[in-house]
C-alpha cells in the first residue's frame, strides 16, 4: 500500500518496504535492503496446539522458507534468532495461552540476510499492531580482510573478501544488543569497534521505521 524509496544514507544499502501486502495475514511486509528481499507475514494471536502452549505467555512460531529447496538446518538457526529476538520485543505476557506465527519467505539474498529477516519481521510486527516493548533494528557489517576496515551492510560481492561478518540487533530504547551473530575470526577490539559502528547506524533503521509508520498513519 505504501511505496517507500528513499536512500537514507550511503552507509546502508537503500531500504525499501511495502507493508500490509498480504490480505490474509494480520500483519505483513516486504522488506528490501539493497537487493536482499524478504516477505514476512504474521498471523495471530490465535489458538495454540496443546503441546506448544505456554500458560503464561504468548508463544511464537517462526517458519523461514528459503528461496529454493526445503528448509534445512541452516534455516533453523535463522528461525531461532528471529523467534528469540521477537520474543524480547513483544509484550508476551499480554496474550497468554495464544501463539503467533511469523512466516518469512526469502525472495532474494545478496548479503545481510539475517539482518534483513529480523528487520522485516519487526516491521511486520509493527504492522500487526501487537503490543511491543520496543522495536528492534538489525545491522550487518563486515571487516575487510586486507584493510581491516569496517564496512556497513555489505552485499555479496563485498562479503567475498571479508575477514569477519557480524549481525547485530539493537533495541530502540537504550540501543542495547538484542542479538548477535558472527562469522569468522576476529579480535576483541574489532568486535567492539563493529558494535559501536553498528549501534550508530541502527538509528537510520529506526528512523526508517518511523518514516514508514508516519506514511500510513496519516492516511488512515
Amino acid at each position: 500500500m505504501v511505496e517507500e524509496d528513499t536512500e537514507i544514507d550511503c552507509v546502508l544499502r537503500p531500504m525499501n518496504c511495502e507493508i500490509n501486502l498480504l490480505s490474509r495475514s494480520d500483519g505483513s511486509t516486504m522488506f528490501m535492503q539493497g537487493d536482499t528481499t524478504i516477505v514476512a507475514g504474521i498471523n495471530g494471536p490465535m489458538e495454540v496446539k496443546s503441546q506448544k502452549m505456554a500458560y503464561d505467555k504468548l508463544s511464537i512460531e517462526v517458519t523461514y522458507t528459503p528461496l529454493t529447496g526445503p528448509a534445512k538446518v541452516d534455516d533453523r538457526l535463522i528461525e531461532t534468532y528471529i523467534r528469540e529476538s521477537c520474543e524480547s520485543a513483544i509484550l508476551v505476557s499480554l496474550h497468554p495461552n495464544t501463539m503467533i506465527c511469523i512466516n518469512l519467505q526469502e525472495v532474494q539474498d545478496s548479503g545481510g540476510l539475517l539482518a534483513c529477516a529480523i528487520n522485516a519481521s519487526c516491521l511486520a510486527l509493527i504492522n500487526s499492531g501487537l503490543s511491543m516493548k520496543f522495536t528492534i533494528a538489525a545491522v550487518s557489517c563486515m571487516i575487510e580482510k586486507e584493510t581491516g576496515k569496517i564496512i556497513m551492510d555489505p552485499d555479496n560481492t563485498q562479503l567475498k573478501n571479508a575477514k569477519a561478518e557480524f549481525t547485530y540487533a539493537f533495541d530502540s530504547i537504550n540501543k542495547d544488543i538484542v542479538c548477535c551473530h558472527s562469522v569468522g575470526r576476529f579480535s576483541q577490539s574489532e568486535f567492539l569497534a563493529s558494535v559501536d559502528k553498528c549501534k550508530q547506524v541502527s538509528q537510520f533503521i529506526f528512523d526508517f521505521y518511523r518514516e514508514i509508520t508516519k506514511k500510513y498513519a496519516n492516511t488512515v
Binding site: S85, S88, C179, Q188, F191
Partner: protein, 284 residues
C-alpha cells in the same frame, strides 16, 4: 523442604537464591563448574572424547569414511558434525527426528568449526577429485544440565585433537584402494576453540556457566567461543532482553580465563593418553 519449594515456586526459588548472592547449586555467580575430559575411551570409534561440565556431559565419537569430493571444491574433505539431544539426556526431549534445538546446536557447531579454522579441510584430501576423508563427528548429549554447547564443543575438539587416520593408498588409474590400519597418522588441529556460556537475569545480572534451570528462567543467554590466540571465533546471542556492551566485554574477559583452563584440561587428558600409549607400547 528445599525440593518441594523448588517444584512449587521454581522462579521464586531461584530469585531467593540469587538475592542471597549464591546459586542453587552452591556456586558463586561468576564461578564455573569443574571440567573433566576423557579421551579415546570408545574402541569402535576412530577417536572419541567425553567432556563433563559439572553434571552436563557430552560424548563425541568420530568415524572416518571415504567418499568422492564435491566437484567445485575437489581437494576439500568433509566434516559432518551432528548433535543428538536424545530423550536419554533429559525429559525435555522426545524420541523422533532431531528437535529444533538439536538442529540449531548442530549448526552452531558447524559454524564454530568453520569460523575457527581449527582444521583445514584440505588435510582430508587423499586424491584430488577422487577420494577424500569424511569425518562424521557425532556428538551425543548424555546429561542435559545447561551450557550444553560448551560441552559439545569441548568434546568435539578433544576428539578431533586425538583423531588419527590410517594411511590410504589410492591408485588413481585403477581406482584400487588399500588401507594400512597399522600406520595411523595424527590429524592436525590448528587451534582449540573453547566456548563459554552465560546467562543474564533481570537487572543485568550475569551468571556464568548456567545450569538447565537457570537457563530456562534466565532472560537471555549468550555464548562466546575463543581460540588459542584469544581471537573470538563466535559470539552467539540469539535474542532475549537487550544487554549492554559492557556485559559482553565482561563475558569476553571471563571467557579468556575459562578458555585457558579448559584448554589445559584437554591437553592434560591427551597427554595422559600419550603416556599410556608409550607405556603399553614399550614392553613389546
Amino acid at each position: 523442604m528445599d525440593l518441594q519449594y523448588k517444584t512449587i515456586h521454581p522462579v521464586k526459588y531461584l530469585q531467593d537464591h540469587l538475592e542471597q548472592g549464591i546459586r542453587p547449586d552452591g556456586r558463586k555467580f561468576l564461578s564455573f563448574r569443574p571440567v573433566s575430559v576423557n579421551v579415546s575411551s570408545i574402541v569402535q570409534a576412530d577417536s572419541s572424547a567425553i567432556f563433563k561440565l559439572g553434571d552436563t556431559s557430552a560424548v563425541c565419537g568420530i568415524k572416518a569414511e571415504l567418499a568422492t569430493p564435491k566437484a567445485d571444491i575437489p581437494d576439500h574433505g568433509y566434516i559432518v558434525p551432528n548433535v543428538e539431544l536424545s530423550p536419554l539426556c533429559s525429559p525435555k526431549f522426545r524420541p523422533g527426528p532431531p528437535s529444533e534445538q538439536a538442529q540449531v546446536l548442530s549448526k552452531l557447531i558447524d559454524i564454530v568449526l568453520s569460523n575457527s579454522r581449527a582444521l583445514d579441510l584440505k588435510d582430508l584430501c587423499i586424491c584430488k577429485n577422487k577420494l577424500v576423508w569424511v569425518l562424521y563427528c557425532d556428538i551425543l548429549c548424555l546429561n542435559y544440565n545447561g551450557s550444553v554447547i560448551d560441552a559439545c564443543i569441548g568434546a568435539m575438539i578433544a576428539a578431533l585433537k586425538t583423531l588419527t587416520l590410517p594411511e590410504i593408498n589410492y591408485n588413481s588409474e585403477t581406482g584400487v584402494i588399500v588401507t594400512h590400519p597399522e600406520n595411523r597418522k595424527a590429524f592436525t588441529v590448528r587451534t582449540l576453540p573453547v566456548s563459554a556460556s552465560f546467562a543474564i537475569f533481570e537487572k543485568q545480572l550475569l551468571l556464568v556457566d548456567p545450569s538447565d534451570d537457570e537457563e530456562d528462567m534466565s532472560s537471555t543467554r549468550f555464548s562466546i567461543v575463543m581460540d588459542d590466540e584469544e581471537e573470538i571465533c563466535y559470539i552467539h546471542k540469539p535474542g532475549g532482553i537487550p544487554i549492554s556492551q559492557n556485559l559482553l566485554c565482561k563475558g569476553l574477559e571471563m571467557t579468556k580465563v575459562r578458555a585457558k583452563s579448559i584448554r589445559s584440561v584437554i591437553n592434560a587428558a591427551i597427554s595422559t593418553l600419550n603416556v599410556n600409549n608409550i607405556e603399553t607400547n614399550s614392553p613389546k
